[in-house]
Symmetry: C2
Subunit: 216 residues, 2 copies
């Protein structure tokens, strides 16, 4: 899990179809999409997943479903992203099998420590900075917190919360493997260009180990 990780939010798409935003982001080279639906019915959530699947499958990009293991199974998605009040990791793993991608949000050191014993595929380090997109989160980790988790954790780290092209390279230099964004792509005037700029920032930083060394 390295690169730009798009978390969807339909209300933030400013009236544009989610499929078109995702298609633009895929064309720009993002690495992963998490479908997050906060108020949709099960049917609507599933229909959104089924609509995104061919767009992502043809590009070889994983489709991750927020919270709902049933939607992931029904849409044959690549995995789920679990928050701390979602399905327990072990239960989700048993239902989805060994090949599914399962990510877990960590908002406290207790979460990070507990995750060390779990075979999750990545930790969602949340939030890095304060953000208007998600208001039910813990206090921000900041770049220093991210670097401390990097030094401790055995897992890949997907950073989220207040991230954009201006701080994406800092995230990678602090030890993040992927930069997750919501509004930086969903609400961009030009989602393709926004995604391409983010991908460029992240990939440049990932390709600069010396630079990374200096700043870590």
């Amino acid at each position: 899990m390295k690169g730009v990780y798009l978390v969807t939010d339909r209300p933030l798409c400013l009236g544009r179809a989610l499929t078109s935003i995702v298609a633009e982001a895929v064309r720009a080279g993002i690495a992963c999409v998490q479908l997050r639906e906060k108020t949709a019915s099960t049917r609507e959530f599933l229909d959104q997943a089924l609509a995104l699947k061919p767009i992502l499958a043809s590009a070889g990009i994983p489709l991750i479903i927020n919270d709902r293991v049933d939607i992931a199974l029904a849409a044959d998605a690549d995995g789920v992203h679990l928050g701390q009040t979602d399905m327990p990791y072990d239960t989700a793993r048993r239902m989805l099998g060994p090949d599914a991608i399962i990510g877990l949000s960590v908002e406290t050191w207790e979460d990070v420590s507990a995750a060390q014993d779990l075979d999750v595929d990545y930790l969602g380090v949340s939030p890095i900075f304060v953000t208007p997109t998600k208001t039910d989160t813990g206090s921000p980790w900041g770049l220093d917190g991210l670097a401390e988790i990097r030094a401790y954790s055995r897992h890949a780290l997907v950073a989220i919360g207040g991230l954009n092209k201006d701080n994406a390279a800092d995230i990678i230099r602090a030890g993040g493997d992927a930069v997750a964004v919501v509004s930086a792509i969903c609400s961009a005037d030009d989602p393709f260009t926004a995604a391409r700029n983010l991908v460029h920032c992240v990939e440049s930083a990932l390709d600069s180990p010396a630079d990374k060394e200096t700043h870590s």
Copy 2:
């Protein structure tokens, strides 16, 4: 699916634990419990299901989960109840297997007609009467509507919406197989006595085919 079918609603339990309400209803002889959670997190929903399961399993009473196939799978429940905006029946059946109990709400004749081709285990005929418990439903079927569905449908019929001990026998006489209640048990001063009275009304009516003949 014959008898009294309890649909849970924690806010309607008036501060009492759902497990204690359900245990009383089980002791009174109800036939089925549907766990319905409108605002719970996935973790909380699952925890409720796991708490109810031993109470029901020891009495041989099925635990049905509202909407969420993942909760049903994770808790090894007996089935799911699907609304028209939940998982499509065929998808849920594929995920849960041939032995699961799958019920489907019908709110229009179009729903009833479409369900005729599905191997659902029962139809939830909703609502029979107007009810303050659920406000997002279609217009009420009434006893006449229930009788018309009985004449047409090949499925067992679980009636819901505004039902209580005063109209439970009418439901059976109109062709219902089970009477589903929410507040009539969850909000009762004495859930055991309320459930026992309902069970008595429903079982008496089910045992009186001559009476049923006369009134149908």
